[in-house]
Amino acid sequence: MYQYDDTDRALLKQRLDQFRDQTERFLAGDIPADEYQQLRLRNGVYLQRHAPMLRVAIPYGTFTSEQMRALARVADEYDRGFGHMTTRQNMQFNWIPLERIPDALEELAEHGMHAIQTSGSCIRNITTDPLAGAVADETEDPRPWCELMRQWSTFHPEFNWLPRKFKIALSGAEADRAAIEVHDIGLRLRHDAAGESIFDVWVGGGLGRTPHVGKVIREGVPGAELLRYLEAVLRVYNRHGRRDNKYKARIKILVNALTIDVFREQVDAEYEQTRQFVQRIEPADIERVRAMFATALPREDVVAAAPVEVPRTFEVWRKQNTRAHRTPGYRVVLISLKNPKLPAGDITAAQMRGVAALADELTGGDIRSTHDQNLVLADVPERALFSLWQRLGELDLAIANIGTLADMIVCPGLDFCSLANATSISIWDQINERIDDIDYLHDLGDVKVRISGCMNACGHHHVADIGILGVDKKGVEWYQLTLGGRSQRGARIGQRLGRAVAKADVAEAVQRILDTYTAERQGEESFVDTLDRIGMEPFQERVYATAA
């Protein structure tokens, strides 16, 4: 993976000193609260319901065992022994006192980590396929391009005060595991006829209050021109995006107001005029970074079957939580952070250390975080799977629910977040209690449930098979259900099922939706395909039949 050099380290140190100084000046009363708010946001610090929240960047979801151990130390020494994985592949801490945050950041900086631009109206952490570099359906590993974009977007002087936050995602594979169509900019990396890297560009996707699937603005942008084209998009947005209403300030609103064709014309004009002034990515630039990500896996003999008789639970876990690797003899292992004992996406400091140790042994220290709040060990030798499973079990991390309904995306909700209208974690608990039979979950197949505690949609409920949105009605928590959303290729926004259900009835409503699906599906038919074939009515009849 990418190795920080003196320049990276100097920039990090400089930013840390600056933020420490800003925090001290704020605590001394020398910076007004409204200004400090903007400064702390650009360093990943929110003031939450109970304490500040610190969002640490994990650029494109790739980090090392050393960095995981640094996160564990922060969890132990500054927080309450937990970290929380986010949908932008970052890690959040919820209990660090403001005056101690600069020290926590210093600890992280020693290991090349930071919280820069993880919030605020600027370019956020760039996300990508968590299986990058390891799977067979990939045209090219997207991470070297992500790294160059990270450098370009970090402290970009022109785009630090955009109308609103800006999220970029990149996928280099056939399957879209980065949800590129629901990002401000989505990039699909592919090769042209000559084998050169080119990018198809989506713009104006996003969730939140007004969910939109992005539109293709340009196909085949040459790799060398990538930053030039991105600058043109960002400049048009920076100059013309709305600033009078924060709920209408995302690029999706501008693209929709102008239409994609007019927006494209403006971007093209800007690009033609200014491209010569923006850095080209020369072949040597990308080659230098590619070399850092290239993993030479030692040759492994394919193990036909497990050496001795193995428990069925291992076979189930292997089927559910591992994926084919592009190199024979290896598997990609997903580690579920969806243990009902903890809030979804939470990981203890002890588990962090345990995963770090396993990564040291098995993957050269490489660890990934995923968009759906899990972890990945990407290059695990097949022969090591059984002992890995056993040791993950000792860490309480071997739960075989990846890609099942229990693999929910859940925002922190009212328990932590000061924006939320309703709790999310209690709904996660309620569904887990109601639907706890692992065989039933496996039989359901890949049905995605996602929970957001308010319309800001951090739980991505719009793009779930079953989306759950918490709303506040006169001080009482209610939950709206949407069906049929999707974040992969051919992304679409879920449709509202009907009136909101009471908090106590959410799991019952989900169960009835699932009952409808299992009764109506034909063979291996997916949830969305069943919904498209039979329509909303059967689901509505069942959920609202006896006044749930």
Binding site: T7, A10, L11, Q14, Q18, Q22, I31, E35, Q38, L39, S121, L148, Q151, W152, T154, F155, H156, P157, E158, F159, N160, W161, L162, P163, L227, R235, N238, R239, R243, A269, E270, Q273, T274, F277, Q279, D285
Partner: protein, 151 residues
């Protein structure tokens, strides 16, 4: 009001057109600029800088308006004037100029700051002094020095 440039403060007497304060010179919105030399042209957030007249580029000084520090349009205007149009005169940040923003202003080619009377000018000078070691290279979007901007 003072003008801060190259670490030195000098007197400055300009004001917005609707400002009742006494001032030697009133700022003129870019849209109303008639080309007269020595005009205190103000590029506002919604100004159009995609084209620039020769008269504008001949001005020794152009003011970039930051009505509030969170409005980032001035950064695009400054960069467009420097890079696209090769403007080589002085670019002055005017309005809500705060010490924690000057770094990014410098890096888009702004080289002077109008310091309002209620702003701690010495703190601003000190902040700029501390920035002298700012690194900008490789793919980290670097500084745009006015001298380099001439096509």
């Amino acid at each position: 009001m003072q003008l801060l440039r190259d670490g030195r403060l000098t007197a400055l007497s300009v004001a917005r057109i609707d400002d009742e304060a006494e001032a030697a010179q009133r700022l003129v919105s870019l849209a109303d600029f008639d080309g007269a030399p020595g005009t205190a042209v103000l590029v506002e957030p919604d100004s159009d800088t995609s084209v620039a007249s020769p008269m504008l580029l001949d001005q020794e000084r152009i003011y970039i308006d930051f009505p509030v520090f969170t409005d980032g349009r001035g950064y695009s205007h400054a960069r467009t004037l420097r890079l696209l149009h090769g403007y080589a005169g002085e670019l002055v940040a005017f309005g809500d100029v705060r010490r924690d923003q000057v770094e990014f202003m410098l890096r888009v080619g702004i080289d002077a700051f109008a310091v309002a009377d209620d702003v701690d000018a010495d703190a601003l000078v000190q902040a700029l002094d501390e920035l002298s070691h700012t690194v900008g290279h490789r793919f980290y979007a670097g500084a745009v020095a006015p001298a380099e901007a001439r096509p």
